[in-house]
Subunit: 400 residues, 2 copies
């Protein structure tokens, strides 16, 4: 009695190991600033729980596999408010953005097909692409350039006869890199020339700083037949536990393919859908407030990071992540040190080692990802703890 | 730009076509008794919405990928109340029973491995097995025997060198067939002899009639290392829209494999988990009430069915489905007739054609599945409408 080969090949998240160390530290009375995962501290807008509390039916029944009309209309209106025109039947509700991505790759990839991503990338892209029988192919980026990848030559060089899609996340996780609308247009031209799908993960759409505009592949009208957008309520509305994702495309084959998978899993949470519809009807001022809050945090994080000797970090322009090169050889070893040996006034900090975000983990061995999901002063202290931890780590290494 | 071959091979649910006809009929002012899907009319216990309404945190955050401790403990206690001993860490929470099944098959099946099921079977087993690279293999059953399959010889004859698992649903969908504990033991012996996994879908555990006991593969202590149980709140608690499923096993390789997949999709709905924990803490008297209600409906449905000339139907002993052989050549044609041509006092009825539940759809061409999910008098009227519809259908055919 054996489990499957593919299950053996998959790996448990390496984060688990660090979570256990963090728990041990907490049991020793240490406070940990958790800036390792994208779980914001911002309150979920009250309208979410209001809509849930007022759910009118006394049977919590299956909803349509593609999502409720109410929610799909609310999403359509939300996109329209940015000038992006998608009808409710071009919108499917999924169980989190994760399911949307999983459905997309299952629908478009044959065995061995390649999906191009800027490297480093959100690690679960790899999980979903591999599960669908595909392979990740990478567009290299550099810390010194702020991990920007939207250079025509660099993208074209990465395309092979097996390339089937380009997957873009803008604003980006884990780097905070942002594409302009002009760059999206350029990527569309490349996609048309090489007959590729564009998968655009737009969960951080509004998180663009320094006065930058919200860009979207959904605005590239000539190319919409090859564009698939995924989205989610998790980050924008600080509602990670309301498992509502979105898959959007004007391509009927894609929507039919996704519907086949949606029918297999019957439906998405009824109450979460009711709550999400209320979220998508928030006034646009909500997005400005949230963006301003994260921009303030970004400024604090960047200002504190520049105080660390030897750090390489370009000010990120979007999302709520920053990937930072540190003067260490083994980022995981440094994190273990922070969680097991270091403390300052009974406090320490936990980041995500960036090696897990890289195609070749060696390239991430001297980098960490910070999520600025805590309020400003806590973020300031988090980065200070990294700086102090690094001093202690270097001192310890010098002694050995 | 093409979608994937596997997506092309999958099919949209044939039910969709009938749903459109049903909507058209309703637009003509016809009332339709929907006994085609397993969506009960019974109220979701009030404790579900109470727990949701009182959810204490103002950030709806990610929960642990394997489910909250609170819910896993509640499930463990619920199983213990039936004498089935599973610790919280042998229990994983999934997004509906569908996700539990999908994770199980991905975790145990290699390309080409076969999963044995009693034929007819819940159609989505095929979706999940195929997605995992496996194949469905069938144990034949017969309407005249009430679709019972637990005969040692018949099971052993169906085993091939590629058989990797037996998947049992007891009480059964779509047939209402029930396994006794002795029969489960016999299946365990076969599984041990041939080194097979047992996947036991126990979503209808308590729905056993005529004084029959609740049986469970979880009680086969010598074989627990090869047993995987899937479960859900959908049917037991009439909470289909609360997407909470359960995967249970004492086999650590299985639980680790499922955890890898669970981490990829991050977490399950936070509010649904809070509500589900309350459901699993209902007193055991709740299960007796629900069973008595469905038994009453079963009796009415069976009594009405026997009034139809030419029907073949053994009184089902569990779940809330019955599969019935009718004197027609093409069950879908009869259903189309009911939805587009027939009415009695402005009413008609909608069942599920059984061809979709069979490995070879030809074997289901003269059978329907009824779900007795409406209260007694509505079920009586539903079957009456089938009888009257059949008379009209036969008359029309005789005229042609």
């Amino acid at each position: 009695m054996q489990i499957s080969e593919k299950s053996k090949q998959m790996e448990l998240s390496p984060i688990r190991r660090f979570n256990e160390m963090a728990r041990d530290a907490e049991n020793r009375g240490i406070k940990i600033y958790r800036v390792n995962i994208g779980q914001p501290d911002i309150k979920t807008p009250e309208c979410y729980m209001e809509a849930v509390r007022n759910y009118p039916d006394d049977v919590i029944a299956y909803m349509e596999s593609g999502g409720t009309d109410d929610l799909r209309e609310a999403v359509s209106d939300y996109y329209a408010s940015f000038g992006d025109d998608f009808a409710p039947d071009e919108i499917m509700i999924t169980s989190g953005g994760s399911e949307a991505l999983s459905m997309v790759f299952t629908t478009i990839l044959n065995e061995g097909d390649e999906v191009l991503v800027a490297d480093p990338y959100y690690s679960n892209y790899s999980t979903f692409v591999l599960s669908a029988g595909g392979q990740i192919a990478r567009i290299p980026t550099h810390a010194e350039e702020g991990y920007h990848f939207a250079y025509r030559e660099r993208i074209e060089q990465a395309i092979t006869p097996r390339t089937k899609a380009i997957c873009c996340t803008s604003p980006g996780n884990p780097t905070g890199d942002v594409l302009t609308q002009d760059e999206m247009h350029m990527i569309c031209e490349i996609a048309e020339e090489h007959d590729l799908w564009i998968v655009s993960d737009e969960v951080y759409r509004e998180f663009v700083y320094d006065g930058g505009a919200v860009a979207s592949f959904g605005r590239e009208k000539e190319y919409l037949d090859r564009i698939i957008i995924t989205d989610s309520i998790s980050k924008r509305y600080s509602c990670c536990g309301g498992r509502i994702g979105i898959l959007i495309s004007k391509n009927r084959d894609v929507m039919n393919g996704a519907m086949k998978l949606a029918q297999g899993r019957l439906s998405v949470s009824t109450l979460d859908q009711a709550g999400a519809a209320a979220l998508f009807r928030l006034p646009t001022s909500y997005y400005d407030e949230i963006r301003d809050e994260y921009e303030k945090r970004r400024d604090i994080v960047y200002s504190e990071l520049t105080k660390i000797p030897g750090v390489v970090c370009v000010k990120p322009r979007g999302s709520f992540y920053v990937t930072v090169k540190l003067p260490v050889d083994d980022i995981e070893d440094f994190l273990v040190f922070l969680l097991t040996e270091f403390e300052d006034k009974k406090e320490t900090v936990m980041f995500a080692p960036a090696d897990g975000f890289y195609y070749d983990s060696e390239r991430g061995k001297n980098k960490m990802r910070l999520a600025y999901v805590l309020e400003g002063e806590q973020m300031r202290r988090s980065v200070e703890l990294i700086r102090l931890g690094l001093e202690a780590y270097e001192k310890k290494q010098a002694e050995n």
